[in-house]
Symmetry: C2
Subunit: 392 residues, 2 copies
């Protein structure tokens, strides 16, 4: 879903030759089909495709060795080993995987190899990290960072008012995994789906924000006393998901029930619920999705800027509102996730980002021209980040 | 649940000896325990108990033959055969089972045996039928009969705001089985959970009424052009149940999912949902339940009465609001269901009801003194039916 957008985007640059690797011929063909459509049909430039088992480090290293820069869009459970394999090949890397492991454990290895690997380099995590990092630099002190982000269907349909822009299993995981937030400088854990609150966003209307476990590296890289990430849904969805959770439908622990064949079977209620919900949560072909993100930083201006004096208490607000691109057919979620990675990969390839290590994007907020390149290159692709500063 | 109340109620009459039969020793012991508590502990009169397989007609007939009157409170799938077996024993019968079969098919047999068998003789079906029958007699023409009934927990707790006073499987069946209504003299079928509407009831507050398949015999016995039965829930419950239905959670048709042991298993989503919901929907010990019923008849007064002239368009409204009895411990649902049956059984035993056949209660609305006996005997037990007439 995201890899196709990456390939199509990179092929848009003169002089780039692009290889897409996957374990499934079907997935590769789907990628070619998407690149063909996005590129305008018959005249479209297409990537080279390679059938490869990317769960095997040796295959990843061999492929990486043949290329100048590598982009990662793998399943989260393959991502950590793939990251190590790319570093072993001494190639720069930009990756969007939401891996469970701590990728910075490989930072020392990356430094030894002289490799720059940017991880969590999508929209959220990704642009959210970069903007949080920017807020932390622009404000002294920065007291608060508040991230709200959601992928939503443009058309709201009862009862769920939701479609899943990525794996629905990961969506339900968001509804059950306790959320880590930072309050008063300490990491606190809150229940999934907790503190749901209505929020008005311009161009969107009223949405509902609830705590999710999305801070990831920010919880430790930034010294900001209050930080949270919340996910956005159309109002009503969270209440419904709480009822499904209360009913036990999201329970992983198996129960014994009478099977269709008469005998007792052990089955996880979550497996049944997932099987039932996934087709209902799939986007229809060409159904428009929205990506909505707001990142807020609060604190005092670190230096005079934008006509505001140093030390002035302010709130910096970045907003993203993007809709599916009818021309390329790419969903908004796949575009907004792919572009931070392709833009970063271009910079890595051109030598515009050289700091060795495994780095989440907030650590690049101080790299000269990076934030500006991100905004400008996104805008060129029709994805508009806006910002404003409110005096407090 | 209901049989215990029947036994305790009958034991309250001097001169009655009561036998309770069940296939389960545990159920019989539970019945004894409940009768003991209801009767005030050590001094309580107790029923005789008989372990018997009531799915066997010969056992039912043999037991019925030894008694003067029989009350039925069996599972719906046993009820039709038990009805026949009681008729074969030539004993009067009052039954509350919600059987799928048409019990009046046995009416000819009952007439040959000189037996009076009153079926659907609980609260709804039961008192609702009797009141509908009374409305049809009091009004000429009777244009509309509207029945609303529900068993509700007194305390509303999120997210379900519901507990099941009887088998939760039957509750979900109510949420999925299409509802038969009568409109313009024709039987029409509407989707389960359809036409949900908020209704204010005195002493209760706002509840939500939705179409259920509860007319049963009324759809054919009464010639009233508009009739419907609706079930009552606290507002919000229906919307939630619609979402569960939309998710597929109430689907009987099995699906293939990965079982806890790794292999694929075939399981009905309804079986999983039932298993999950049933413990959540069980009343806590001594948790108070409400029974709420309203029966409305609309039409013109058949004769001058209550100071209203013949031919006056009126609305007759009967209301029931009952709460769990803390003294006996019996739930409201079990009391309001058992009492119509025990009151009727007393009349059958005393010769106060003699019409042979298998009869739903609406056909007894013209029996001299029956309706008055029902109201008076309910009131003696603390269950108050109120009525009023509005001029239209």
């Amino acid at each position: 879903m995201v890899g196709s957008v990456m390939a199509a985007d990179l092929l848009g640059s003169r002089g780039w030759s692009v290889t897409v690797a996957d374990a499934s011929r079907e997935a590769l063909d789907r990628c070619l089909e998407r690149c063909r459509r996005a590129g305008g049909g018959g005249k479209a430039r297409l990537p080279k495709t390679v059938l490869a088992d990317l769960s095997q480090a040796v295959e990843v290293t061999a492929l990486a060795a043949k290329h100048d820069v590598v982009l990662g869009a793998l399943s989260s459970h393959l991502a950590f080993n793939a990251l190590r394999a790319v570093i072993e090949a001494s190639k720069p890397y930009a990756d969007i995987a939401f891996m469970a492991e701590d990728p910075t454990e490989l930072s020392a290895l990356a430094k030894r190899r002289g490799v720059t690997a940017i991880v969590d380099c999508g929209v959220a995590p990704g642009m959210s990290n970069l903007l949080a990092g920017a807020a932390a630099r622009m404000l002294t002190p920065c007291n608060r960072i508040d991230i709200m982000v959601g992928g939503l269907p443009l058309e709201r349909r009862a009862p769920f008012q939701y479609k899943a822009g990525f794996s629905p299993a990961d969506v339900i995981e968001e509804y059950t995994r306790p959320a880590r937030l930072v309050e008063h400088g300490r990491i606190v854990v809150k229940e999934a789906l907790s503190e749901a609150e209505l929020v008005d966003l311009p161009g969107v209307g009223t949405v509902e924000a609830f705590n999710t476990d999305g801070l990831r590296s920010l919880a430790t890289t930034l010294k900001v006393p209050h930080m949270r990430e919340r996910t956005l849904r159309w109002p009503g969805h969270i209440e419904l998901m709480k009822a499904f959770r209360a009913a036990g439908c999201f329970q992983k622990e198996p129960i014994d029930v009478r099977g269709a064949d008469g005998g007792m079977v052990r089955v996880s209620p979550l497996a049944v619920t997932s099987k039932l919900l996934f087709p209902l949560w799939m986007y229809d072909e060409d159904e428009p999705d929205l990506t909505v993100m707001r990142v807020i930083g609060e604190g005092r201006m670190a230096k005079a800027s934008h006509g505001i004096r140093k030390g002035q208490p302010v709130r910096i607000i970045w907003d993203l509102l993007d809709v599916r691109d009818p021309q390329t057919g790419f969903t908004s979620m796949s575009r907004t996730t792919a572009f931070p990675c392709t833009i970063t990969a271009r910079l890595l390839a051109s030598g515009g980002l050289r700091r060795p290590g495994v780095l989440p994007p907030e650590l690049l907020a101080g790299e000269r021209g990076y934030l500006e390149a991100m905004f400008g290159e996104h805008a060129r692709r029709g994805v508009e980040y806006t910002s404003r500063i409110e005096l407090l």
